[in-house]
Amino acid sequence: MDLAINPFSSGTRLRDMIRAIRACKTAAEERAVVRRECAAIRAAISEGDQDYRHRNMAKLMFIHMLGYPTHFGQMECLKLIAAAGFPEKRIGYLGLMLLLDERQENAMFCFEHLVVLNADRDLNHSNQFIVGLALCALGNICSAEMARDLSPEVERLLQSREPNTKKKAALCSIRIVRKVPDLAENFMGSAVSLLKEKHHGVLISAVQLCAELCKASKEALEYLRKNCLDGLVRILRDVSNSSYAPEYDIAGITDPFLHIRVLKLMRILGQGDADCSEFVNDILAQVATKTESNKNAGNAILYECVETIMGIEATSGLRVLAINILGRFLSNRDNNIRYVALNMLMKAMEVDTQAVQRHRATILECVKDADVSIRKRALELVYLLVNDANAKSLTKELVDYLEVSDQDFKDDLTAKICSIVEKFSQDKLWYLDQMFKVLSLAGNYVKDDVWHALIVLISNASELQGYSVRSLYKALLACGEQESLVRVAVWCIGEYGEMLVNNVGMLDIEEPITVTESDAVDAVEVSLKRYSADVTTRAMCLVSLLKLSSRFPPTSERIKEIVAQNKGNTVLELQQRSSLLERMPVIDEASYLAKRAASTQATISSDKLAAAATPGSSLKLPNGVAKPPPAPLADLLDLSSDDAPATTSAPTTAPNDFLQDLLGIGLTDTSTAGGAPSASTDILMDLLSIGSSPVQNGPPTVSNFSLPGQAETKVAPVTPQVVDLLDGLSSSTSLSDENTAYPPITAFQSAALKITFNFKKQSGKPQETTIHASFTNLTSNTFTDFIFQAAVPKFIQLRLDPASSNTLPASGNDSVTQSLSVTNNQHGQKPLAMRIRITYKVNGEDRLEQGQINNFPAGL
């Protein structure tokens, strides 16, 4: 009433609020209205407004239904429940049920006690409707503790005189029993006595209570079996024979709900118990025959009846009756009925498979039905129906349907067909045929393990390989869009290419086809280049091309071209496989020697490469790498003669030896100019490039020498013998002519200065080297105060003898010499390196030159 004066009053009636919300055109408007209303309600709550409490509660419920948070209203519920008037209580209980959530722990704790107090009072109220309210609310939301507290009250109410109360008490007991199964015994007796009532409401609740009791405890089940069966039969008989009762009549049948509940309870009681089943036989037969089935209500009863017959130990006559009803349902035009019939048939399968087989044709029709639910049910049923006898015809039907089915159904259908085919395949030819068809129709939905299994089967069945590869080739040409089909086909073409081209292993049913080698390569190439091919498919195509290149030598040039296009691919797998085909590029001899002496890691890892290159491969390729370990050192790195075989030792699957494959790439890449942008080769570069850094002029610092250590720990587990081998090598070379092993080097050269080192080693002291340094002045000015300094890493000791002179005459007229003595404590493992610093004066100006000497000959 005071809307104008106090805009925040909660004076709006429920219908006005609803009108306002309905008038909103956008979600934002609605949110604004709701927010305003919530604010008003909150204000009213904090003021303790009495009059409009129930109106506010109704509004809150509406708002809650729209999905907005309303927890601030929960205390209001309690206040309403505590109020004296019936409408308030009603709304309060309703609000309690709607707004409160059993799972909200904290809320329930405080509420429980409050609610229990109130409910207790209400349960003892004289007004039966209030009692009913409390029972209703409790029945819907009470938790286990509340149930325990209030169960004595509820039990008492089960005996009350009012039918209303009794029925609600019965349902409340259901909840109690569900929450606290131990209390089931208390309700058993009362439940049975309730069955004698006349009031349908009470009966239906009582029946449901009995059902719940049976679920809750075994003793209850036994007790009920003994005591309430005749009561049930009587009820059913009365209700089906009774004359027209306008109260409960639905479409000419009296209280179908009661029918159904009783039938359900009979099913629970009769399951597994022969006596009970016998007892109810007659009444079931009566219901099944008498009920009219032209209305939905009648059909509902028949449905329940058939389920019951299937569930208990019925006589065969009764079973036949049931199956006939099912058959009638199946041919009904109403979709609902057919759905229900299919459901029933699934259960009937366990009982009587023969009968169900008779309806196979109809079921197959249902698989193609327009309705999604029916299709799903029918497909499941068909799956259950498959046995050895009808597997082939059923599969044929299903595969035919696969062609025309729509996308979302294809998934299920494919999975079912694959499992049927797998389970029931007696001969491999049929299995292969079906799988090929499925792959061409729905390859995208076929799961990975299915086509893996297919490949395994093909590789095991040698007589069918030719047939497989030819069929797959044809299928690939026809529809190359299905991923799995492409993968399997490409694999087969690679494996059995020669069978394809030469028509090997023809079966009687085949006609010869002409496929040339280049046709086969074409097919694989097309699959490789297709834009929709993913990495796995492309990888398989590449490997297949590799296999073909060795089987069909004339095409190998072309294959090389195709494969080479993928060399620069950003995906590691593809790049790897492309590089497998190449000749390994030639490595510079000098740098090879440097590498070998300087870092045995290279040889350790290449030894690993050789060792791991032994057969894991089931390929029939000429495997040129099966040689004893030391020799491959030379073979692998001596690259002119070895060909693809060395590299195709990597089998079709992903590289299992990480280091091996990396090395394969690394060795090719160190010499090729185009650096591939993948991190692994960079790592490898470092591994092998310790010795080759002089070639690349990298600026390694003294700390760089930790790299060899790193690399060494990476490949640590490998044979130390190789190290010895090399040590032997290097020492043997050092034993030979000293001077020729260590040629003089130009240690440093700039525009102004040139330094040359000459080496001498004494026999028997391989660690020590004497270096004669000679400095030449390349300019036309004389250098004065010439000082030469050198720094070496920690494992080297250096002794500098005094220079011959401090003045360097111009233009190389004469040179200054200085002698250095160097001891390498890690001789044979780490090479010499030295940093030099030269200071001199030219025409009174100070000059400084610095440099690093890395090109010491190996073995120093």
Partner: protein, 143 residues
């Protein structure tokens, strides 16, 4: 157990009545309603009235602009639930006289009361229209 929820939704997807017999949070409810409504709205009139959703079934029927959705357990008799929906509509019709969506909206609490009388804790309690409407008449007389 039995009935899990009763929801009435109009053709635009707005929920008019929602009564849940199992416990779901507000977000879950909204998500659930959205999903199911979309499925039901997409079906034509000639398809059957049962939709399988997650681990339970939804039985639905359209009356004018309103969809009645009842979620039930898998072992429940679907045809019986169809009857139940019809019974609910008839009860409302008897009370409001030619019930329409607006009636339901403006008398939400009465609809809830009716539902309460008919279904408790997921089980069908009362199927006689007279018995269902009696307390409601009483309440209207007193207030």
């Amino acid at each position: 157990m039995g009935i899990r929820f009763v929801v009435m939704v109009n053709k635009q997807g707005q929920t008019r009545v929602a009564q849940y017999y199992e416990h779901l949070s507000v977000d879950e409810r909204r998500a659930l309603e959205g999903e199911i409504v979309r499925k039901c709205l997409a079906r034509t009139d000639h398809q059957c009235s049962f939709v399988e959703h997650r681990n339970y079934k939804v039985v639905y029927r359209r009356y004018a602009s309103l969809f009645f959705l009842v979620g039930v357990d898998n072992d429940e008799n679907e045809l019986a639930i169809l009857e139940f929906i019809h019974l609910l509509v008839e009860t409302m019709d008897r009370h409001f006289g030619n019930v329409c969506e607006l009636d339901i909206m403006f008398h939400l609490e009465k609809v809830h009361f009716m539902l309460e009388e008919m279904v408790m804790n997921g089980c069908i309690v009362e199927t006689s229209k007279q018995n269902i409407l009696a307390p409601i008449h009483l309440m209207e007389k007193t207030s």
